[in-house]
């Protein structure tokens, strides 16, 4: 907890005459009330250090009262304080004194910021475990009651989260009181409190005796589920999951299902949305029998709900629902009771619904097997591949691997191609970006011949897209393709095309060549890099556009590690030297960067033992490079410009013969 602060835990620890060790603590304490939030925050985060220095006695009698009153502070300070106090039991003297921490946490539990309150409640829950049973009833339970009957709803909402931690350890008389308090919060005047109670209902139910669950929790659940505010009703759906797990099938059928059926048909779309959203949890909680009798029909209704939000939420759950059905009879149920509704959704009027379906529908093929997939699902996939909404098509394409496993991608490839081409040329660059991301995956599944024939030209076209993000993604895509198809393929198909662009009149395209080389050099290996790429890069050092020139410098730095020493020494070095004297200051800067990086490499090659040499600072102040050159420096011998890089100067560029 506060291990760093040393062993001074006794009350006398703060004694000592003019003790040097007091000074840092004194600073920390003073900064608890500094005007700078950051300093206060730092101090609060080291609260354990302060407490350790003060000793348990003074922490209890002085520090905690001070902290109890600091609730006016900024949220982030209060949040940190609430968190610290959860781990403070040891610092106030152990479990016997844990109750001393309740007052500050109680006031934190009433602030208006939800994050702070929640953290205070979390810490209170933590501390409750450290109370003895006696202390729990003497201090903690009264605190819960105080919060539960507080004037402001912030304190009552906080109380809701504390019942479940004190209930199991309380005596039966106190238990009855706690239940009573929880009951009254469930019918509180303010919806905030009812919502808090509804969201803790499941948790509370779990710690109650089964009889109490049936006799008390179920009625509360029923009430909350028919609350006048839909924001409360929708939380009851979540509670339903927890309560259902506690009851036998018969009780479930009699006590919970009527309410759940009602929720699935609620007048408010938000409640129905919640049912759809929690469907898998509900399905697991109620078991297979009720699922078949009740949930499947309910799910069918959700899939054809009048509100698109609900249909989309349900569509998202299609795959999970099917997966979780008992394997026996699963195929029949899906084919007869789910698939007809899915077919409807494929031509839904709302694109979000279609796209939600498209993101999971491919998963059904593994469940239904090859024949069903070809006969029933394939037409749906094909329809979605032709959907007017790009997101739908993308979702299908991004999940192709599921189908590939079952029926092989060939079945789809004829329809796939037009869909891909269309997405590749979509007017929205984000759509183009998305399809590029899937290219390596597609390439792997479709194979190199298909790719070369149909898709290669697309990949090259993206390199000259007018949006930078697309060009960048296209560059990375090439690298992944090379990793997949190998260097020989790269040398024959990709590299020549990339290198041709070095002569493009548009400097942006010339730069793309450089970016491609950066990305490809490693995947292509030393030979291709040295023989094919390097000459082009070096040639471009004479480009008239400064952006191209400094990117040449960057590229040289990037591909340096792949090149051999001779190439570095004979070819790269002179070019970088020249660029180092460029009239453009950015070109100079990046040339110098490259020079020191390459120098490092040469050094290491020569003296492998000097591995721990301090590397040149890559983020060095740019102005260092603007130093005017003196006469005599340009004598053909390289003189590093940066005096602080003494290592490079000494070892760097002087020819070194073995």
């Amino acid at each position: 907890m506060a291990g760093a602060a040393g062993p001074g835990t006794g009350p006398g620890a703060a004694g000592g005459d003019g003790d040097d060790s007091l000074y840092p603590i004194a600073v920390l304490i003073d900064e608890l009330r500094n005007e700078d939030v950051q300093l206060r925050l730092n101090s609060i985060k080291k609260l354990s250090t302060i407490a350790l220095a003060l000793g348990v006695e003074r922490t209890r009698t002085e520090l905690l009262p001070f902290l109890t009153d600091t609730i006016y502070d900024e949220d982030e300070v209060l949040l940190a304080l609430a968190e610290q106090l959860g781990n403070f039991t040891g610092l106030v003297g152990g479990p016997d004194f844990a109750h001393c921490l309740l007052p500050p946490l109680e006031s934190l539990a009433t602030v208006e910021e939800t994050v702070v309150r929640d953290k205070a409640v979390e810490s209170l829950r933590q501390i409750s475990q450290e109370h003895t049973s006696v202390a729990l009833e003497a201090h903690f339970v009264p605190l819960v009651k105080r919060l539960a009957s507080g004037d402001w709803f912030t304190s009552r909402t906080s109380a809701c989260g504390l019942f479940s931690v004190c209930y199991p350890r309380a005596s039966s008389a106190v238990k009855a009181e706690i239940r009573q308090h929880f009951r009254s919060l469930c019918s509180d005047d303010t919806p905030m409190v009812r919502r808090a109670a509804a969201s803790k209902l499941g948790e509370f139910a779990k710690v109650l005796e089964l009889d109490s669950v049936k006799s008390e929790i179920v009625p509360l659940f029923t009430n909350l589920a028919s609350d006048e505010q839909d924001s409360v009703r929708l939380l009851a759906v979540e509670a339903c999951v927890s309560i259902a797990q506690l009851l036998s099938q018969d009780d479930l059928e009699a006590l919970v299902m009527p309410t759940l059926r009602q929720a699935a048909e609620d007048k408010s779309w938000r409640v129905r949305y919640m049912v759809a959203d929690k469907f898998s949890e509900l399905q697991k909680a109620v078991g297979p029998k009720i699922t078949l009798n009740d949930l499947i029909p309910a799910f069918q209704n959700l899939l054809k709900d009048c509100e698109a939000e609900v249909r989309a939420a349900a569509a998202h759950k299609v795959k999970e629902l099917c997966e979780n059905l008992p394997t026996e009879g699963r195929e029949t149920i899906i084919m007869n009771q789910i698939l007809p509704f899915i077919k409807e959704l494929v031509s839904d009027t709302n694109q979000h619904v279609k796209s939600a379906l498209a993101s999971v529908i491919m998963g059904l093929s593994t469940i239904l097997g090859k024949e069903n997939t070809i006969e029933h699902l394939l037409p749906l996939f094909l329809a979605q591949l032709k959907d007017e909404c790009p997101e739908v098509r993308l979702n299908i394409i991004s999940n192709l691997d599921c189908v590939n496993e079952v029926i092989g991608i060939r079945q789809l490839s004829q329809s796939l191609l037009p869909a891909i081409v269309e997405l590749a040329e979509d007017a929205k660059w984000r759509v183009r970006l998305a399809i590029i991301e899937y290219m390596p995956l597609l390439a792997g599944q479709l194979g190199v011949e298909f790719f070369d024939e149909k898709l290669n030209s697309l990949c090259m076209a993206w390199l000259v897209d007018h949006v930078y993000a697309i060009r960048e993604a296209a560059t990375n895509n090439l690298m992944k393709l090379v990793q997949k198809f190998g260097t020989e393929w790269a040398q024959n198909t990709i590299v020549p095309k990339v290198l041709v662009m070095a002569n493009d009149p548009n400097y942006l395209h010339r730069m793309t060549t450089l970016f491609c080389i950066n990305a490809l050099s490693e995947a292509c290996g030393q030979e291709i890099t040295t023989k094919q790429m390097l000459p082009i890069v070096l040639k471009m050092a004479g480009d008239q556009v400064a952006n191209v020139r400094f990117n040449v410098a960057k590229s040289l730095q990037k591909i340096g590690p792949i090149l051999d020493t001779d190439a570095l020494q004979e070819e790269v070095k002179p070019v970088l030297q020249k660029l180092g004297q460029d009239e453009d200051m950015d070109v100079k800067y990046f040339a110098q960067e490259a020079i020191s990086a390459v120098a490092q490499r040469l050094t290491k090659l020569d003296f492998p033992v000097k591995d721990n040499e301090e590397p040149s600072a890559p983020g060095a102040d740019k102005n260092h490079f603007l130093r005017p050159r003196g006469p005599g420096e340009d004598t053909g011998k390289f003189v590093p410009l940066m005096s602080r890089h003494t290592e490079s100067e000494r070892l760097g560029w002087f020819p070194r013969r073995q």
């Binding site: 007091l22 600073v27 304490i29 009262p65 402001w152 919502r195 779309w269």
Partner: protein, 507 residues
């Protein structure tokens, strides 16, 4: 955590992106099928709507069941400068009581919010309830410039709404044309004392003299009221915000501009949902704008919005995530005999307020106040003429732009009396039970406390009786647009241009 509204739902369109919409903030003049007024460069909205409302009271017990006309209204206080020379920034733009009535907030064109607090009742002077004194003043909004659209954003406070009280502090939302802010107003009466390394006055101590650690202690101090901004809800409105309204679920609120209504969570500033959008695909086809919107006081899924065409639409958020389709449309058939060039302008609704009970709503158009039963859409259950005598003056009111003034209206705590403003610093009250009405004047004359206000009469035509004022002598520069009624007592706040008058019933 009560983050249960589906703010994570991916489908609802975010209104954050259309902020870049190229359209100007003022709809074109064709919108109301009236010619642009002279000298205004085609800007058709002369004045932004604003409102005082008491829509969300937690309690509706009302002192004095009669209210309104049967009680005698007395002068209580007047706030603001005495001289006639009015600084633009001092013009009051909204007035609002909090839910207990203990606090009264005003906003002005200078972006300031001033909060008055009612003093504890004085036992000796039992004839007068506590006076309202300044509790806190803060600068809520500053003038800004939108560089993307080359638009100046005024600091003027369009609306203030108090949140239901959640702890010892008070919270309110204030908005200008574009940005809504959540403010916390809290009291502090203790401050920490004691440093280790310095004296209380800031002088540093010699660190070597520090032999023991001191923990600061809180000591009582003079009460300090702090206003701190807690949340800023920005970038969601392309047009000017005319209304904000807090939902009875305590966690969401709506904000309405000329063409759209957005739904916010009070704790989430970077996301809001567009629930109504009446912007036509082609702005040339624009025929109506949203003028005001409000949540139902206790049914959390119901809200209404009024339009420049004199209609009110009621929407049910349960039915659908997007509320472009209304569930009820309140509209009164036009009286053909009154049809004129100005019909559409004067039927534009400037304010809509639910009664505390939630059964009725009140709308204000240029000449009248109408009360609607939520269960009857085809006509209002009550109509009160505010200043019918102006009907013959519409032409000159159009010339001087007064016809575009946005008068607000309010209910008393028991929904039995309604109040709204007029010209010449007159304001009107209508008793719904006795059907009696009264005209009173907010004036510095006779402003001794407990002076009973004399009813005023405007002489419409013919011979003017004694004590009557001729229509021609009304001062149209003195208008009362904003009024507020204490939620439980007969105390009203009336804003004239730069003065705030507080009146109460004679006890």
């Amino acid at each position: 955590p009560p983050s249960c509204w589906l703010f994570c739902s991916p489908l609802l369109p975010s209104p954050l992106t259309p902020a870049l919409s190229p359209h100007r903030c003022h709809p074109p003049p064709s919108a109301l099928s009236t010619p642009p007024s002279p000298g205004e460069g085609g800007e058709f909205r002369k004045q932004r709507p604003r409102g005082t409302q008491q829509g969300h009271h937690l309690q509706r017990n009302m002192a004095g069941a009669g209210g309104g006309n049967d009680i005698q209204w007395c002068f209580s206080q007047v706030k603001g400068a005495v001289d006639d020379d009015v600084a633009e920034a001092d013009i009051i733009s909204t007035v609002e009581f909090n839910h207990s009535g203990e606090l009264l907030a005003t906003g002005d064109k200078g972006g300031r919010v001033v909060i008055f607090q009612q003093e504890q009742e004085n036992k000796i002077q039992s004839h007068s309830r506590g006076e309202y004194n300044v509790y806190s003043t803060f600068q809520s909004h500053e003038p800004e410039f939108d560089y993307l659209k080359s638009l100046e954003i005024e600091e003027k406070i369009n609306k203030i709404r108090w949140l239901p009280q959640k702890n010892a502090a008070q919270f309110l939302l204030s908005t200008n044309d574009k940005t809504i802010k959540l403010w916390k107003i809290s009291e502090r009466d203790k401050r920490p004392e004691g440093y280790n390394l310095k004296e209380e006055d800031g002088r540093y101590r010699d660190p070597t003299t520090v032999t023991t650690l001191r923990v600061p202690v809180f000591r009582p101090m003079d009460l300090m009221v702090e206003a701190s901004p807690r949340r800023i809800f920005a970038n969601a409105h392309t047009y000017h915000i005319n209304s904000i309204s807090i939902n009875s679920d305590y966690e969401t609120y709506l904000s309405a501009d000329d063409l759209r209504i957005n739904l916010w969570h009070l704790e989430i500033t970077d996301r809001s949902f567009n629930i109504v959008d009446i912007k036509p695909a082609n702005m040339e086809e624009l025929t109506e704008v949203i003028t005001a919107a409000e949540f139902h006081p206790n049914s959390c899924n119901t809200f209404v919005y009024s339009s420049s065409k004199g209609t009110i639409r009621l929407c049910d958020m349960r039915a659908s995530a997007l509320c472009d389709r209304h569930s009820k449309l309140f509209e009164e058939p036009e009286d053909p005999s009154n049809r004129s060039f100005f019909s559409e302008i004067i039927s534009s609704i400037s304010d809509v307020k639910f009664s505390h009970s939630g059964r009725y709503m009140m709308t204000r158009d240029y000449l009248s106040v109408k009360i609607w039963d939520l269960n009857m859409e085809n006509r209002p259950v009550e109509t009160y003429q505010v200043h019918e005598y102006l009907r013959s003056k519409l032409c000159s009111l159009y010339e001087n732009d007064c016809i575009f003034d946005k008068f607000e209206c309010c209910w008393n705590g028991s929904d039995s009396v309604v109040m709204t403003g007029s010209y010449n610093n007159f304001f009107r009250m209508f008793d719904r039970n006795t059907k009696r009405d009264i005209t009173l004047e907010a004036s510095r004359e006779n402003n001794k406390p407990r002076t009973v206000l004399k009813p005023r009469k405007v002489c419409a035509s013919g011979k003017r009786k004694k004590d009557e004022i001729s229509v021609d002598s009304l001062d149209f520069n003195k208008k009362i647009l904003h009024t507020a009624w204490h939620p439980k007592e007969n105390i009203i706040a009336v804003a004239t241009t730069n003065n705030l008058y507080i009146f109460q019933d004679k006890v």
